[in-house]
């Protein structure tokens, strides 16, 4: 009879993930047992407390690296810690947006347009379950970039995705569109997960191992069947590219960005990118690096198409959330050059870019939540005209984020672009550099168009107004703005920190 040995876990190193999960479970208990009136405030407190505690654990553990924290399934290393830290910081800033319950439906289970919905609205119910759902997603995102075996990676992928599917459907206004986007996200997500698993199966067939190290050894050993390896990488990449929103696996993102409650979009757009690119960087750098001749051309083509397509299609958008969605597709293309670079500078640049982009994205969506009329958020860009006249501060903040996306100097976006393109060129990819620069030029066009609209066009008098931001939203916008410009003017501390810390342990 086989003996069962209990797994040895290094709880201290896993603490950030565990704390967030514990917070999520407490949240579920609060939903079940606490009186309705006290839920919102206690949920916010628990959520923030667990995120901050998790961040504190990360800071405490920052130089204790180990590949055996969870029996070789999780590897806590420099890059992993940085990515986890980025996810947590982004989550902390965006949680403040969730606190603004105006965005969410009163009762998720009520059918749109039904009596039940009307009653729930009249009773002023609140869907406080967004907090535990968010925490579950964060826990998945914390696990995703540090997973070092394919099964754990898959579990993390599902853990971060499932809550997001739900969250996407919780919008208070245009509920049908919101639910449609959630369904679309779920179906396509499930589809891509299937591809992912298919890839895992091939890779297991190739290397008879599910760990990254096993894969790496098989790739270096070169004794396996290369067809299986390629199929495995291809299918696995489909799953990952879906999550980052790369063309041609991007179809979900404009609809979901638009349909989901803006607070959720902010969190999802920023944090999912960090987690998914983190995982992608890890598996390509750790396992498939030696096989780069085979996958690099394909990934380069995808990166090129993604950046050019995202920038071009964004021009045609008349909705601010869809425009930001296509812009995030273009950014996914830029970020892919970091994966393709396959070098230390590529890794550093990617992590910096992810953090800078994530923070600016949260800020930009936070501004979107403020522009409203009597029936909710106004995302039609035409109705944003003259915003600079009515609320100069909010318009200036949004312009600042757009300039960061466009990569204008003295914003974090410029440093990110510079470092990631130079890493790509350093690794020999001139095409990526040129395509990146050209699509940045295209992208500048639609970012600037929004600035023109806000500052140089007269306002239309149709009831669109900027609400006075709640203290929570103010915190989000101000923090993101300060970080975005501080990283543009003096990024040295962060760059040095990343350069000294970011490594993948094998």
């Amino acid at each position: 009879m086989m003996g069962f040995t209990a797994p040895t876990l290094d709880y201290a190193l896993l603490a950030p993930i565990l704390v967030v999960l514990a917070g999520a479970l407490i949240g579920v208990l609060i939903e079940a047992f606490a009186p309705r009136a006290s839920r919102a405030s206690s949920q916010l407190f628990i959520t923030l407390a667990s995120l901050v505690t998790a961040l504190a654990f990360i800071v405490r553990n920052h130089s204790k690296y180990s590949t055996t924290a969870a029996m070789g399934s999780v590897s806590i290393d420099g890059a992993g810690v940085l990515l986890q830290g980025s996810v947590l910081i982004i989550a902390i800033i965006s949680v403040f947006l969730l606190a603004d319950q105006e965005n969410f439906t009163a009762l998720a289970a009520a059918l749109p347009g039904s009596d039940e919905e009307r009653v729930s609205l009249a009773q002023d119910l609140k869907v406080t379950e967004v907090y535990p759902l968010t925490l579950f997603a964060v826990a998945g995102m914390l696990l995703f970039p540090v997973s070092t075996d394919l099964i754990t990676l898959f579990v993390a992928l599902e853990m971060l995705s499932l809550p997001l599917y739900l969250l996407a459907g919780l919008s208070r206004r245009r509920r049908l569109a919101s639910q449609e986007s959630a369904l679309k996200y779920f179906l396509l997500g499930a589809f891509s997960s299937a591809f992912f698993l298919f890839g895992v199966a091939y890779l297991y067939g190739y290397s008879s191992s599910v760990t990254f190290i096993g894969l790496h050894e098989a790739v270096v050993g070169g004794s396996g069947n290369d067809i299986f390896l390629l199929l495995g990488i291809a299918f696995l990449s489909v799953g990952l590219l879906f999550k980052v929103g790369a063309v041609p696996f991007h179809a979900w993102s404009p609809d979901v960005y638009q349909g989901a409650p803006t607070a959720v979009t902010a969190f999802m757009a920023a944090a999912t990118k960090v987690a998914a690119f983190g995982a992608m960087l890890r598996i390509f750098y750790v396992s498939f690096a030696e096989d780069f001749l085979q996958w690099r051309p394909a990934l380069t083509v995808i990166a090129l198409i993604t950046m050019v397509f995202g920038s071009l299609v964004a021009i045609a958008q008349r909705d601010v959330k869809r425009m930001l969605a296509y812009s995030s597709i273009a950014h996914a293309g830029f970020l892919l050059s970091g994966v393709i670079a396959l070098s230390k500078s590529g890794l550093d640049a990617s992590i910096f870019y992810l953090f800078a982009y994530g923070v600016a994205t949260v800020g930009a969506f936070a501004v979107v939540t403020l522009v409203r009329d009597s029936s909710g958020e106004v995302t039609d860009l035409n109705r944003w005209s003259g915003l600079g006249k009515r609320s100069p501060l909010v318009a200036t903040a949004f312009a600042g984020f757009l300039l960061a996306f466009a990569g204008i100097p003295l914003t974090s976006g410029f440093i990110g672009k510079f470092s990631i393109f130079s890493a790509a060129y350093e690794s020999g990819s001139t095409t990526l550099l040129i395509a990146g620069v050209l699509s940045s030029a295209i992208a500048a066009f639609f970012y600037i168009r929004v600035i023109v609209l806000m500052f140089f066009k007269d306002s239309v008098d149709d009831g669109t107004s900027v609400v006075i931001p709640s203290i929570y939203t103010q915190i989000t916008i101000v923090t993101s703005f300060v970080v975005t410009f501080a990283l543009g003017v003096y990024p040295t501390p962060l760059i040095n920190f990343i350069a000294n810390t970011a490594t993948f342990l094998r």
Partner: protein, 505 residues
């Protein structure tokens, strides 16, 4: 902190003071702006006095780490060419403030924003000429677009938003091409030692780069500068921007900002890519000559007075570009002197034109007539500015145009001869509007125009003084420029062609 940093920070401090000052007190805002620009101008003159004219190396050098991980430094320093351009910027700024005292009135936002943008722009203008770190230069180069964009789009006239966007997109496109080249240089420097953006270190790389790489990187820089300068066929943004911007903004745009393009050609194209510069010189000379003639023809056909000035500038930038790439020390000195002189003659033209337009409420040349009788001081000012623009001997532009043509002739005689037609055309495009607007009988609508007031006279006097004085006595400036210009040419491995003489006769 040393001289250049202090010089660059002063306008920013002024901007800060304006930001703090109460919004209701517009006069105070303007006074702070004027005081700041005057102080900066004086500081700029003091800096020039301290400059060692004979020394061709960079002076007032300072260097601090900025982003050491990428080898990026906050490094400043000036040679004669850069110093002259900084001097131009700081001298024009107070004139612009004084001349356009009420310029902010038609804007979307108040005077406060206008002057904050203007002073921020001045800081960036000083920074862009003073940086000796390519990355820092790029940061200033791109960041200065933003204040100009808001100055045109927020305070201009007519299709101002469209013009502002056109300006910004053109410039950003060029800037991004330059970014690609800068990344190229950065990576190559990393492969040959350590990552750096130091202009002196990077200039050594030209020996290790393959000709193809050098040509491509050169093009990235050159296209960005050619858009900025602007050189035909990348000039189409300029007339729109100049037409829509306020006169003051136009002065800074054409007088200083566009000089960043020609300055960049000298400082970056020639220094970093000497071989590629030689390869492309014939093509660039052709483009420059086309600019000279094309700009002049467009100017002859212009109906709008601001567009006219923009077209004349395209012609003048053709001369400057030709002088830069002629690779003789005379042409090089001439080009730099031309940059300075063009700054002042364009300033005079735009400022007087601005006053004419605001009085007549029209910018169409045909609406003016017989101003000489009604407003003699304004008419004379415009006349002198126009004469300076067509390079009348005795006015400053003549010296520089002559130097450029002579310097070019010794190496590219055909180009110089063809370019000379530009002077003939200049007579047409200046004299025709001068005749129509200033001379002859006073046409209806012009009878009651008021002449320049005291403020306007004070603003235009120094500009005209500079134009006249430098026309007769350009040597103070040439003393600063000549050593640096000769040094740039000799760095390219060129020596001035020796004059040939027929001794038999």
């Amino acid at each position: 902190m040393t001289t250049l940093t202090i010089l660059g920070l002063l306008p920013l401090l002024g901007a800060l003071a304006i930001a703090i000052a109460p919004k209701s007190n517009e006069l105070l805002t303007k006074q702070i702006a004027l005081a700041t620009t005057l102080i900066v101008a004086i500081a700029g003159i003091l800096t020039t006095v301290q400059f060692d004219f004979a020394d061709t190396s960079l002076q007032f050098v300072e260097s601090h780490d900025w982003i050491p991980a990428f080898g990026i430094k906050y490094a400043l320093g000036v040679d004669g060419i850069a110093l002259v351009l900084i001097l131009l910027s700081v001298l024009l700024a107070p004139i612009v403030v004084l001349a356009g005292w009420n310029e902010s009135e038609g804007g979307r936002w108040g005077a406060k924003t206008f002057y904050i943008l203007l002073l921020t722009l001045e800081t960036m203008m000083i920074g862009v000429f003073a940086s000796t770190d390519v990355f820092l230069f790029y940061v200033f180069f791109e960041a200065m677009l933003i204040p100009v964009y808001f100055l045109i789009g927020g305070y201009g006239t007519g299709e101002r938003a469209a013009a502002a966007v056109k300006f910004l997109l053109y410039s950003l496109f060029g800037g991004l091409l330059m970014l690609a080249s800068i990344i190229g240089l950065y990576v190559i420097s990393g492969k040959n030692g350590s990552h750096t953006f130091d202009i002196n270190e990077l200039s050594k790389l030209s020996q290790v780069m393959s000709p193809t790489t050098q040509n491509l990187l050169f093009l990235g820089f050159f296209i960005a500068f050619a858009i900025k300068a602007p050189v035909w066929p990348l000039h189409t943004w300029l007339p729109d921007a100049a037409q829509s911007a306020t006169p003051g903004t136009s002065v800074l745009l054409l007088g200083v900002l566009d000089k960043v393009g020609t300055f960049g050609m000298i400082r970056y194209c020639l220094t970093l890519f000497p071989d590629a510069s030689k390869t492309f010189t014939p093509v660039i000379i052709v483009f420059a000559v086309i600019s000279i003639l094309y700009g002049a023809f467009l100017a002859i056909g212009a109906r709008d007075i601001k567009r006219l000035i923009a077209y004349t500038s395209i012609s003048h930038f053709g001369f400057i570009t030709m002088g830069i790439f002629a690779m003789t020390s005379q042409a090089q000195s001439g080009a730099t002197l031309y940059m300075f002189n063009h700054g002042f003659s364009t300033a005079a033209l735009f400022l007087v034109a601005g006053w004419m337009i605001s009085r007549r409420k029209s910018s169409t040349i045909a609406d003016f007539g017989g101003l000489q009788r009604v407003t003699p001081v304004m008419a004379w000012s415009f006349f002198i500015a126009g004469m300076s623009s067509l390079a009348l001997p005795g006015l400053s532009s003549f010296v520089s145009e002559f130097l450029v043509l002579v310097g070019t002739f010794t190496r590219y005689p055909v180009a110089a001869v063809v370019a000379t037609f530009g002077i003939v055309l200049a007579a047409l495009y200046i004299l025709i509007p001068v005749q129509r607007a200033l001379h002859g009988p006073t046409t209806p609508g012009n009878e009651n125009l008021s002449d320049l007031n005291l403020r306007e006279k004070i603003a235009i006097a120094p500009v005209i003084a500079v134009i006249v004085v430098l026309g007769f006595y350009p040597s103070p400036l040439l003393k600063i420029i000549n050593p640096s210009a000769a040094y740039v040419v000799s760095q390219q491995g060129f020596s001035d062609p020796a004059p040939t003489m027929n001794e038999d006769k």
